[in-house]
């Protein structure tokens, strides 16, 4: 498939940076030249790890697929700005975090108009006795995090659900390390209050 796309990179082909896989760099340059097949290859290569990240943002399958799609569309539109300073997956994960965060914010605005099903979440928490399967545990964790503010939820999701370090969380969110530490401290305190109230 051929697309019409004009990009400065199409004129001057830069050398593959050390941080980037050679195959990725070739496909990026080809995609910038308008080769749709090259971009399909990139999507196929990275859709599973990105899908895993987006699964932390929603457990609704339809919404999840839409978010993964949004990440790759946004990445394509910004591909000309990718300089290869970090591996492509890191760059895609930053976009994924931004897309997920934006979706949470929009959803929170919509949810403000409809009452949340608090009783259902309470039942879900009460049902858990510590011998849950990963799926059940994830359901409970998502239900708890759903009660936190969007900012708290983002930092707690990255630190506890994704298992990121503070530095990795800072990279993905675009916040400073100090900011992540402060936000995490406050988020933990607020979540502890929510948990206490729930139990």
């Amino acid at each position: 498939m051929k697309w019409t796309r004009s990009s400065p990179s199409a004129l001057a082909r830069p050398e593959c940076p050390e941080a980037v896989d050679a195959a990725d760099w070739r496909d990026i340059q080809a995609a910038l030249d308008g080769d749709g097949d090259a971009y399909s290859r990139l999507v196929r290569r990275y859709q599973q790890p990105i899908a895993a990240s987006m699964w932390r943002f929603t457990r609704d399958r339809g919404q999840w697929e839409e978010l993964v799609q949004d990440v790759f569309v946004e990445a394509y539109l910004a591909l000309g700005t990718y300089r290869g300073l970090s591996p492509l997956l890191h760059w895609l994960r930053r976009i994924a975090t931004r897309v997920g965060y934006r979706w949470w914010k929009q959803r929170t605005r919509r949810q403000a108009l409809t009452p949340s099903l608090v009783q259902d979440w309470d039942r879900l928490l009460a049902d858990d006795r510590g011998d849950s399967s990963p799926s059940e545990a994830a359901q409970v964790v998502h239900a708890i995090l759903d009660r936190a503010s969007v900012r708290d939820r983002l930092v707690l999701t990255l630190l506890y659900l994704e298992g990121c370090t503070v530095e990795e969380t800072a990279r993905r969110t675009g916040w400073s390390v100090t900011m992540v530490k402060v936000q995490a401290f406050r988020a933990r305190k607020r979540l502890a209050k929510i948990l206490k109230k729930t139990s």
Binding site: V43, Q47, A51, F72, S132, A138, V141, Y160, L161, A192
Partner: protein, 86 residues
């Protein structure tokens, strides 16, 4: 184990949850085509509105000139009336 430690344990367990497989390649390509069409429309709109503004300015200038021409015959009528009244 306090409530937050329990949450941490659950989050650790949730981390190993198997993720369903998916293939969004075709949807991504469709999304890119739609986004590119939308950005093309975004480029066309300011151009069209600019052209409309230029056309409106030309019409305004012509209308002013026409208005000036319209006032002259009326002035002629009033000047003759003034002579009759005097």
């Amino acid at each position: 184990m306090d409530a937050f430690e329990r949450f941490e344990t659950l989050a650790g367990l949730a981390r190993v949850e198997p993720i369903p497989p998916l293939d969004v390649t075709q949807r991504v390509l469709g999304g890119i085509r739609r986004a590119e069409r939308a950005s093309a429309v975004q480029w066309v709109l300011p151009v069209v509105s600019g052209l409309s503004a230029v056309a409106a300015a030309v019409v305004a200038v012509l209308a002013l000139q026409a208005w000036d021409m319209l006032t002259d015959p009326l002035a002629g009528i009033f000047s003759s009336l003034t002579v009759v009244i005097q």
